[in-house]
Symmetry: D2
Subunit: 152 residues, 4 copies
Amino acid sequence: MAQEELKKRKRSDYKFHLEYRTRWSDNDMYDHMNNSIYYFLFDSIVNTYLIAHCSLDPPTSSQIGLVVHSHCDYFAPVGFPAVVDLALRVNKLGKSSVTYEIGVFERGKEQVKAVGECVYVFVDRETRKPMAEGIEPLKEGLGKVIAEKAHI
Amino acid sequence: MAQEELKKRKRSDYKFHLEYRTRWSDNDMYDHMNNSIYYFLFDSIVNTYLIAHCSLDPPTSSQIGLVVHSHCDYFAPVGFPAVVDLALRVNKLGKSSVTYEIGVFERGKEQVKAVGECVYVFVDRETRKPMAEGIEPLKEGLGKVIAEKAHI
Amino acid sequence: MAQEELKKRKRSDYKFHLEYRTRWSDNDMYDHMNNSIYYFLFDSIVNTYLIAHCSLDPPTSSQIGLVVHSHCDYFAPVGFPAVVDLALRVNKLGKSSVTYEIGVFERGKEQVKAVGECVYVFVDRETRKPMAEGIEPLKEGLGKVIAEKAHI
Amino acid sequence: MAQEELKKRKRSDYKFHLEYRTRWSDNDMYDHMNNSIYYFLFDSIVNTYLIAHCSLDPPTSSQIGLVVHSHCDYFAPVGFPAVVDLALRVNKLGKSSVTYEIGVFERGKEQVKAVGECVYVFVDRETRKPMAEGIEPLKEGLGKVIAEKAHI
């Protein structure tokens, strides 16, 4: 999607929200949160949602989600000691893969700081092969955060 | 201090509290927060307190705090997606150094998970030499979180 | 670029190489290097090249490079204790921005594990505004790692 | 041990050596490797040794090593893009616990930068209880890096 469109994202464009306190070490030498840290946060909100609302249990579930693609557009800096508001939605729900979009906001501020997407493929824990219907057990929970106009 | 004593630490033994949400990547292969992550959290509560209550501004203040010693005793595991309650106190306040103690608790649980100490020496930002009275500008704020019976 | 094309990348498609030992904490609960860690490695090879071959000095240079976009395609897992061979090239060199491509290989293995791109905009250290000719002082060094057929 | 003694550590005081390239994100806002990162490196050399020389296989071995105590004394800074030489020895070998000492040196420089210790207790993977003879299968390998005059 065009950066111009993503830059207009609002908290209300997302369905699940989670706040995260930044850490001292998130800031790199340029005194702002390092670009890589955003991906740590993406993983965190995605897995928190899967555990809390889709019955995923990472140490034991038979399927595990592996990231096959991720990207992020950075619009404005944020950094320690700010609190960030993460916002999640599902943009695409396939048979064995899910595309999540995550918006990063700063507490108390309206404008979005960064927007990213991660594509997870669900594979069998043992064989690490995609499971034909890997999403099935998670579908009810994921269905609740699907973006309007998303490709399902 | 003896591990037996530290193991009895309660939230009320500390003067400043800050909650931190754990991240997916905090857990290592053994499905619990990696031991190194605790030190990231120690740095985070210490610097949050210095910024919020002692007027420290990391990118510009003339003195900066460097860690010269740190240690931690781990009593019980905690891990993603738990929220941890960090708790801070000053155990010793020298002319250019401060010894902080941090307790790590899990939200909703009473027993302490880990207790650590970090010794920061305040040095001049440019020369990186200890400042004779480096603590002076921070003293009022630090004084408020000194542990009873601490060595001042 | 199509994933099928990227999947065929060889070490010889890149101009600068740097090996990195993985760390215990790079592996997440699924016993492979977490997807976010790749971005730490991208930053590391880019900045190593800029420091070693383009005279960038991160703590003092008047321009600093901020990431405005990054993405990565993951083809096969790699994890601790493997050593990874990072490979770098410049895909696009603008007036104030540079697009780097990084390939991640595992020592002793031929097939590429992941390929990513990062777009850095060079801004003035103080104002954090893009510098019209921010790339100028780095251009000679960057020119040496430009990909054939890249957009310059 | 007294800091004065530790500060005199030489590479030859250790039995196993491993070099690690620092990463961009290792440096914090003060332009040197953040104190917490040292513990990531400690874990990395310890587990590399256990895997390479003691037949430990972290994803499947019946015993796993949990850190119950760690500490570090920092003598001089080191930071990206330096390469660090890690050095390992066993200071104490108990029935179910091992005390490792790690020295951190910078490539090309003699003086030690930091020295730390980590105490690992080997527990059963399932019950997470200490294994009476947890060290037994690792003993031959660990025996080769025991410090002279160590407590065995």
